[in-house]
Amino acid sequence: MKSIMFILFFVLLFAQEPIDPIPLKIKNINKEKAILGKILFFDPILSKDKKIACVSCHKPQCSGADCVQYSIGVFERSDKPMNAPTVYNARYNCWQFWNGRAKDLKEQAMMANHDPEEMDMDKKTLEKRLNSSLKYKSLFKRVYNKDYITDDMVYDAIAEFEKTLITPNCKFDRYLRGDKNALSEKEKRGYFLFKSYGCITCHNGINIGGNSFQKLGVFIKDIKIPRGLDRYEVTKRKEDKYVYKVPTLRNIALTAPYFHNGSVKSLKKAIYLMGKYNLGIDIPKEDINYIEAFLKTLTGEIPEILRGK
């Protein structure tokens, strides 16, 4: 009877592979627009004090995220307690920000640009600054064929650039594409554990996360971590407290610190805490090692547009 039950559950467990590889090449990209977006992404002129650029918190050397717990915004301000999520593969997130308040990259760019703790910019100043720059005037003219630069064009161009920020061809993607030797036995065991512990129920899809909102600490009654900007800030429903967008696990080995508030420095600890908080189990050290090994196979190639920089 025991074995019958096991088989039954087994069938349910492995119905299909729920992770998709990142495409090797991106289609439908306006290259000139993306390059303009890149220039804007790196330009601190977009912030009120002209010191903060998008790149200030989404650093290539930190794999599109920030290496510190709290990023520094304009005038040394900080968006505490939120940790900057990575911009890499952000196009595969179904919503943007930890609480999904932006529906797409363009909206995210605008909101971050307007946020008083981040760049504190307003439409008027932004347009004034860019329109007084001959360089931008000619660049925008070439892309949009317009003589006046609007904020909408700015965010549109940045979003276009961000769409190119994908990290394809990681070991695991190669494995998914059929290269069974791409993963070592250890890593394969890590993937098996990742699935059998149930991590995969939330971390699935192309971005291995980013496609649902889940509560942090299903098994914890009084969680002590600060809430920050959770789903509650969007819906104002009390059930949505401590609910966040499930973060992507791609390049997870490079995007420490972890969790919405960047409170967890090591990947092992993050795995452990996830088991405790959301699976109601203490994952043994040995298994954590396996899972970590698997997660490290999710590190992909540096986006093409940033190579050589």
Binding site: C94, T201, G205, F213, D282
Partner: protein
């Protein structure tokens, strides 16, 4: 003209209506295109929305069924539906035109926003339940279980399995063996503790998971969307019906326009045919006209033209009125036409002038003499005809000119003029030298006009002798002084003078000179030439009445009237009758030259008959002339008239005529005309 104006108004009206129709068609098709494009895009999006809804539900059910699931599929569908909603919501045409459907669509949007929240909620219970299930299943491998434990664990697992697959909460109540539960909770085995934790999460979350799933599946989105779709279709069908009616109306309108257009074109065609007929036909006789002749003649390689003219038609018109004149023209035209029709159908007849009719023949078919024969036949036919109008009976004479050379009509006309000069001939063929006559005529006309104006018209007097060569009286002849050495007889100018209606001027001049002479010589008798035109001319008649009716003048005057000119019989008869009362005598000049009519002359109460010179000239040799002259003389004697012989140019002629019984003699043998009288 009014009808034509009306017609052109109709054409303008049609053009305007046509333009309106085109405008309506263009704007109609433009609107229809826009309408179809917009409606199609709305319908297409509504369809896609419906599909996306179905897919979303399918994905949700799928995700609830399987432990491992790619949640991208759900979130992507949500985002897709959102994008479609946004697109539809911002569609102004949808908003303004499909108001009912749009209202339902907005309801759908609201319902979907609610559904979206429900989905996020659902996913928050769905995924932890899966994790718990995974753990509960896996825990069998790790937990150390004895026989009582295993029964409990199997019980739990079967209840969970049944609840998950039946959706019935009843099975969860069966798990409630609290004793075992407490035992597990306090067990040193961490797996047993975790088993309980996960079980508790399952028990806590499952009812919520179930509730949200049902709520999502039964959400009103689908109903709202269906209703929006239905209302959209209702409006669409209504519009299509309207379009259909509109296009029917348009088609009827266009068909009507085309019908009207055809009608107008037909009427215009009729008018054009009328105009063409008028252009090429004579309205009086219905015969083809000069324009048509000029057109037709070009089609024939070697045409021949016979031009007929009614002699003295103007007089007929003057005496009987233009009504009868017109009738006569009509009859003559039709008689001629019928004549030619019966003769040769290829011959066409045209009316080319007031009393001019031209027959066009093929010159190849007929030789010149044949043409003359045809003309003669036609003239004989018409001259033999009596034209009766009420109480008036008319006989007519015709002349004809024939030409086979270009310009046909003009040449024929010239030949005809030649005929008119020569009384003996009725038909003349055009000859080259006729052309010179025209120039001569022009020159003569100029000469005579200048002569009249500069008083170079003078009288000559030729004595008329009796048998004993005594001067009986003088005939007043007219001479034109061209220059000092050249004095011409008026004879060669007669035609031109008559054509130009100047003859009466000459007569008046001669009458004046004659009167002077009569007054100068109380014993002088004068014979003066009068034409019929003169008799009809008021100025001449008045002058005669005033000056020549005086006692001492009238009985010394004789008026000579040309026999061939006598056609206006009644007027002349009247004149003669009146003048004879005063003692004026009358003579018929050139008697016997043409078709002398004794009985007519008889009625005129004439005193003298002047025998035509052509009969006298050759009388010595010509037996015929002798016979005619004899007849004339006997006729004169029996009717108590005196005879005068002209052209007596030799002694033989004088003696012979004297012997035959002529009363008076005139001619070069006796005396030539002289500018003065020597009594």
């Amino acid at each position: 003209m009014k009808k034509l104006k009306n017609l052109s108004f109709k054409i303008y009206f049609l053009i305007i209506m046509g333009l309106i129709a085109i405008g309506v068609i263009i704007s109609f098709s433009f609107y229809a295109k826009k309408y179809y494009f917009n409606s199609y895009s709305i319908m297409y999006n509504l369809n896609r929305l419906e599909n996306a809804e179905n897919r979303l539900n399918y994905n949700l059910l799928y995700s609830s069924l399987f432990l491992y699931y790619n949640n991208d599929k759900i979130s992507k569908k949500i985002n897709r539906i959102r994008a479609l909603i946004e697109e539809l919501e911002s569609n102004e045409f949808f908003k303004s035109h499909y108001k009912d459907a749009y209202k339902d669509f907005l309801n759908y949007k609201k319902a979907f926003e609610r559904k979206e929240d429900l989905i996020f909620e659902f996913m928050r219970y769905n995924l932890p339940i899966k994790n718990s299930l995974i753990y509960l299943a896996n825990s069998l491998k790790f937990m150390k279980l004895d026989s009582t434990n295993i029964k409990y664990v199997m019980n739990v697992l079967s209840s969970i399995f049944l609840s998950k697959n039946t959706g019935d909460l009843v099975f969860l109540k069966e798990i409630g063996d609290l004793k075992e539960l407490e035992k597990f909770k306090n067990s040193p085995d961490e797996y047993k503790k975790a088993f309980i934790r996960n079980l508790m999460i399952y028990i806590k979350y499952y009812p919520l998971y179930r509730k949200y799933l049902y709520e999502i599946i039964n959400s009103s989105t689908y109903i709202n969307l269906k209703s929006a779709f239905k209302k959209f279709k209702t409006t669409l069908n209504r519009d299509l019906e309207l379009f259909k009616i509109l296009s029917y109306i348009l088609i009827i309108f266009i068909i009507t326009l085309i019908g009207l257009l055809i009608l107008v074109v037909l009427r215009l065609d009729e008018k054009i045919r009328d105009v063409y007929f008028l252009l090429e036909h004579d309205s009086l006789t219905g015969l083809k006209n000069r324009y048509k002749l000029n057109k037709d003649i070009k089609k024939i390689d070697t045409p021949a033209v016979i031009l007929f003219n009614i002699d003295k038609f103007k007089n007929i018109n003057d005496y009987f009125g233009s009504k009868i004149g017109d009738k006569l023209l009509n009859d003559v035209g039709n008689n001629l036409k019928n004549f030619f029709k019966n003769f040769d159908t290829s011959i066409e007849l045209y009316r080319v002038g007031a009393d001019d009719f031209a027959a066009v023949l093929d010159g190849k078919k007929y030789k010149d003499n044949e043409l003359e024969k045809i003309a003669k036949k036609a003239i004989d036919m018409l001259e033999g005809e009596e034209f009766k109008y009420n109480k008036t009976t008319l006989n007519i004479n015709l002349s004809a000119g024939i030409s086979t050379k270009e310009p046909y009509l003009e040449n024929a006309d010239m030949a005809l003029k030649q005929v008119k000069k020569d009384i003996k001939e009725k038909i003349k063929f055009f000859k080259k030298n006729l052309n010179n006559d025209i120039e001569k005529n022009i020159k003569k006309s100029k000469e005579i006009k200048e002569a009249i104006e500069s008083n170079r018209i003078i009288p000559y007097y030729q004595p008329i002798f009796d048998k004993d060569k005594n001067i009986y009286k003088y005939e007043v002849l007219c001479r034109v002084i061209i220059n000092e050495s050249n004095i011409k007889s008026i004879y060669e100018y007669l035609d031109i003078l008559k054509e130009n209606k100047m003859y009466h001027k000459i007569t008046q001049i001669i009458l004046k000179y004659s009167l002077e002479k009569l007054k100068e010589f109380k014993d002088l008798n004068l014979s003066i030439n009068l034409s019929v035109e003169d008799v009809l001319n008021r100025d001449v008649v008045n002058f005669i009445k005033k000056e020549f009716t005086k006692k001492d003048i009238a009985n010394r005057v004789t008026f000579e009237i040309l026999e061939s000119e006598v056609e206006n019989y009644e007027a002349l008869k009247e004149f003669i009758k009146k003048m004879k009362k005063y003692g004026i005598k009358f003579a018929i000049d050139d008697f016997g030259s043409g078709y002398s009519n004794f009985s007519r002359v008889l009625k005129l109460d004439i005193d003298y008959l002047k025998i035509d010179g052509s009969l006298i000239k050759n009388i010595v040799e010509d037996k015929d002339s002798q016979l005619i002259v004899k007849t004339i003389i006997s006729f004169a004697k029996s009717s108590n008239k005196k005879t005068v012989a002209e052209f007596v140019h030799s002694k033989e002629v004088f003696e012979m005529t004297k012997a035959m019984g002529v009363d008076y003699f005139q001619g070069y043998y006796l005396s030539e005309p002289k500018p003065n009288i020597n009594l």
